[in-house]
Symmetry: C2
Subunit: 142 residues, 2 copies
Amino acid sequence: MQGRQVNQIIQALKDKGLRVTPQRFAVYANLLNRMDHPTAEDILSELNQNAPISSQATVYSSLQALADVGLVREVLLEAGVCRYDANMQPHHHFRCRCCGRIEDIAWDQIQGITLSGFRRGLQVEAYEVTVQGTCDCCQEAR
Amino acid sequence: MQGRQVNQIIQALKDKGLRVTPQRFAVYANLLNRMDHPTAEDILSELNQNAPISSQATVYSSLQALADVGLVREVLLEAGVCRYDANMQPHHHFRCRCCGRIEDIAWDQIQGITLSGFRRGLQVEAYEVTVQGTCDCCQEAR
DNA sequence: CTTTGTGCAAACGATTTGCAGGATG
DNA sequence: CATCCTGCAAATCGTTTGCACAAAG
């Protein structure tokens, strides 16, 4: 990790009014550097792979704090599984039904969605498309 | 509930190769007659409101059996909450951030989605739009 | 020095499981 | 009458909580 990135992370936490602790830093940095959408358990085990960095309870509370201030968001694609994503740009998700892999879909790769006036009375604040299918790897493997 | 509907439900279960038991029937009938998207607990308590109809374990296993054969589907809109829906027609969902109410959005009320070729390699099997916002009631209530 | 975060272990809520008896086809 | 389902209670899984101590600003 570059020094610049370290400072950016620290600044982002401070800007949101969160104290910078080694654990919170580690959770956020880990999430920023992953392209998969890990669960709390995934993050915990990766953090503590070599040296003990954080306890389970702290990973959960860090994730909640990060989500509360909008640095991180929950991704719900499977029953009973809560994943996290540090990419706060609006985007969509693809999930492979075969291997469970989750991939981001850039916002402008799905076009032409017309929501306005689809039901008078509902005030839309956000939306997202969830795509289910089969990824390249799983198609090859038959 | 009309006699015709009863027979339709029984036939649907048989067609899918499921045995018709009072509990399974009750779970599916309840889900078909509700417009909200209840959790397993919601269904359990409504079923047993007057007389004891089914145990907790049986509601869970009925829902799983129904989902496995495609008579019912899971709806995931909140972390840690698994809801069920007997409406198998493709449709979208709206969720009110204020009161948590979930409303179906008919498929053709959101138009112009272009998925084809958004990333070569991914084979699309299904997709759905999830809309978050504020419903009429909550806007009035300020 | 005040406030907030951490770690531990116990508590919790939702879902699953093992198993003996009962109902379905 | 073989198979599958139900109910009960115990087990499990992910997440949350209470509390004493430690660290951040």
